[in-house]
């Protein structure tokens, strides 16, 4: 479940990302990156699928036939209806309904939105924390390095799911009693905090290499502050591995969200994410109501698969050794 440190052999910074400043779009379409993207049909497909799903999720309130979060619109008597094309189906509910009478299609759209939002925010949080700590550890070394890396070790001793459970437990208690969706942010926090180590380690390693290069030495000589050097010179050069890890982590974050929901600490059932939907649908798998778990399950799998494919391609494309 944790891809930490695996499958990601040390990444070198490809020259392409250090290209001379030109118009960004032009630079992008000219790049090897774009070329390698176009050259694999599978990757193009993954890209299109990802775009479509993200788009559908973003537009969920506009395109969804029902508002699954509007409790007043729910009718328990509509519950457990099969997809419209199956006998007993209802044309109002294309993919059927769940145990509370929610339209599966609309709930998937809203749920995908929650899942993507949680995962993206969690990964951004992880990147924010990991990159800053990695930069500090790598650039300043000494005590800061030791402390940060030992914290990283502590974190690594707990698998992501355990960390998420732990943070979740604490946060639930702290935020208890607030009206409003604390669960969303608790999930972001717990997933984000369980993913940062990989970034910290990678960035630290690369910073160690970068800081001894001539251009950093030169910057130091002309009297730039350490912080400025760190952010202006070192940071841009470590971003491409971060991007790669980020993409793969995004897929992992979506699964982690689903797993947390399976363990009962995800989004509330009144505002289900994909994970919550699968967890609920799972209970109905044997009873013949396959649509409750099949559609969200397939959605989740396709989404994660597409993101993973993109991640793969990014990794190969940004790794000059493989070109």
């Amino acid at each position: 479940m944790s891809s930490e440190e695996q499958g990601l052999p040390a990444l070198e910074v490809p020259p392409s990302t250090r290209a001379a400043p030109r118009g960004l779009p032009a630079r992008f379409f000219d790049s090897d990156l774009w070329y390698s993207f176009r050259s694999s049909r599978l990757v193009v497909l993954a890209g299109i699928v990802t775009l479509l799903m993200v788009g559908a999720a973003l537009l969920a309130p506009l395109i969804a036939p029902h508002d699954p979060y509007d409790l007043r619109a729910l009718n328990l008597m509509d519950s457990d209806l099969p997809p419209a094309w199956v006998q007993g189906g209802d044309p109002r509910f294309l993919l059927g309904t769940d145990d509370q009478g929610r339209d599966i299609l609309s709930t998937i759209l809203y749920g995908t939105r929650s899942s993507i939002a949680i995962s993206v925010l969690a990964v951004l949080l992880a990147i924010g924390i990991g990159v800053s700590l990695g930069l500090v550890a790598g650039y300043f070394g000494g005590i800061a390095d030791t402390i940060i890396m030992r914290i990283a070790d502590v974190k690594l001793t707990f698998p992501a799911i355990l960390v998420a459970l732990l943070i979740n437990g604490i946060a639930q208690t702290l935020f208890r009693g607030r009206l409003g969706g604390a669960e969303f942010w608790i999930l972001v926090l717990s997933i984000g905090l369980s993913f940062w180590v990989q970034y910290a380690r990678t960035v630290r390693g690369m910073t160690l290499v970068e800081k001894n290069k001539e251009y950093v030495q030169a910057a130091r000589l002309i009297g730039m502050s350490r912080t400025a050097i760190m952010f202006k010179h070192v940071l841009p050069n470590v971003l491409s591995p971060v991007l790669v890890i980020g993409t793969i982590n995004l897929a992992l974050a979506i699964i982690t969200e689903a797993t947390l929901s399976f363990l009962g600490v995800g989004l509330p059932p009144t505002e289900p994410s994909l994970g919550t939907m699968i967890q609920i649908g799972n209970k109905y798998l044997f009873s013949g109501s396959w649509w409750m778990v099949a559609f969200p399950g397939v959605t989740l799998a396709v989404l994660v698969l597409a993101v993973n494919l993109l991640g793969d391609w990014l990794r190969d494309a940004l790794n000059p050794k493989l070109r």
Binding site: L76, Q100, L285
Partner: protein, 525 residues
Amino acid sequence: MKLRIMTLAAAVAAAMLTAPVEAKTFRYAFQGDLNALDPYTLNETFTLGALGNVMEGLTKRDKDLKIIPGLAERWEIAEPTRWRFYLRKGVKFHNGEDFTADDVVFSAERALSPESNIKSRIAAGTKVVKVDDHTVDFVTTAPNPILHYEWDTWYIFSKKWSEANGATKVQTSSSQLSPFTLKANGTGPFIVESHQPGVKTVFKPNPNWWGKPEHNLTEVIFQTIKSDATRVAALLSGEIDMMDPVPVQDIARIKANAGTDVLTGPELRTIFLNMDSLRDELLYSDVKGKNPFKDARVRKAFYQAIDMEAIHSRVMRGNSANSALLISPLLFSRAAEFKRHPYDPDAAKKLLAEAGYPNGFAVEMDCPNDRYVNDEAICQAVVAMLARIGIKAKLNAMPKAKYFEKAGATQKYDSSFNLLGWTPGSFDSHNVLLNITGCRDDKGAGAFNYGGYCNPKVDELAKLVLVETDTAKRDDLIAQAFRIVHEEAGIIPLHQQALNWGVSKKVKIVQRADNQILFYWVQKE
């Protein structure tokens, strides 16, 4: 050694004469664990049920829960405060010792010891007096018509065995399992052969049981299977003969399967909703400075907003009995007089408007998600139904460990609106009037009154119920008390959930409404 072999041979010969030679192993699974084999440690249905196959009380309950003689052959009320029990003669414990009055006196002391979890079986102040080896008197401080109601699960220990095995003291909930709780020594029809807490327990029939066996088993294996889906799968694939509980949505699937069926019956547990009507301001609401639940109209609005028919047919898939009372109709003779307030969202809206909340208000609802049948789904449905009368209820579903901590006494009933289930251990209404509707006090009354509902009139009636020995008068007092709670919608009863046991068609098993799994009635093909 020689003698042993001869007895063994005799036993084998006897077995060959009476029973078919082939092994009949009954395998069953439950979602929870069987831990200590000391029945005084945990007052919980499943544990007591499993041990009921191994140990016995002075009374037993038959297939319809009627009280019948157990280790006591008969009893009489000598004086209103003195009950005399005549013990069965010739009964032996599994280790060969005779069962006598000393064991009863010892077991009473043991049950009342500080570590015991079943103190409620014997009212405080009751004296247990040995008259002779097979007669025991129980002297109570006040007349008590229901003295022996819970004695079918007050299992009798052997005094000598307990002393020899360091079992005189109850296994405490906080200490390590003593070796004696890994075995059990009772008088019952089955003997524990091996016990691995939380994993597997093996039982063998007791060849020397005093009664006439109604089973044809040679071995029983119990296993814990926590996950619903896995439990269903294990039954469908024939790996087990029986399991409990069946998730209601899987009933149809199990029935459709050729080799399996579902035994359904009414259960005694009632599910209900508590509203915090005690505090002056709700903890979790947008109404400030006052508590809307103090107004009976608001409570009744909540009551009438909930469509129990829909919950019955959809969430429970027909496996529940909607209830107007906080006790099962099986346990209260006059239950039929009570009808639920009708489902009527318009009337509910009107009531809310009259109470000064024409636009409703917001409140948080706490709900366990791993305790009762479809508990979370029920809460979701309730929240959605309340939304239609303008109540913005936010659902906090949580695991039982957290739920009981938050909504219960531990965190001082830190909840505004919640769902709870209750089975009166004594099978009697007084238990409900004390624990569920009783005003909270520091002596333990109303301890499970999670909404703090309090009406002194109900409490007065409850006190009268306790000492009234005339059944008709007593029932009348109970009905009066329940009528008050019903009229002012102090607590909203929902339903009694149904028992659902998944069984292989190869076995015949008796399902009793108290949900004890008693395999001494199992016949396997």
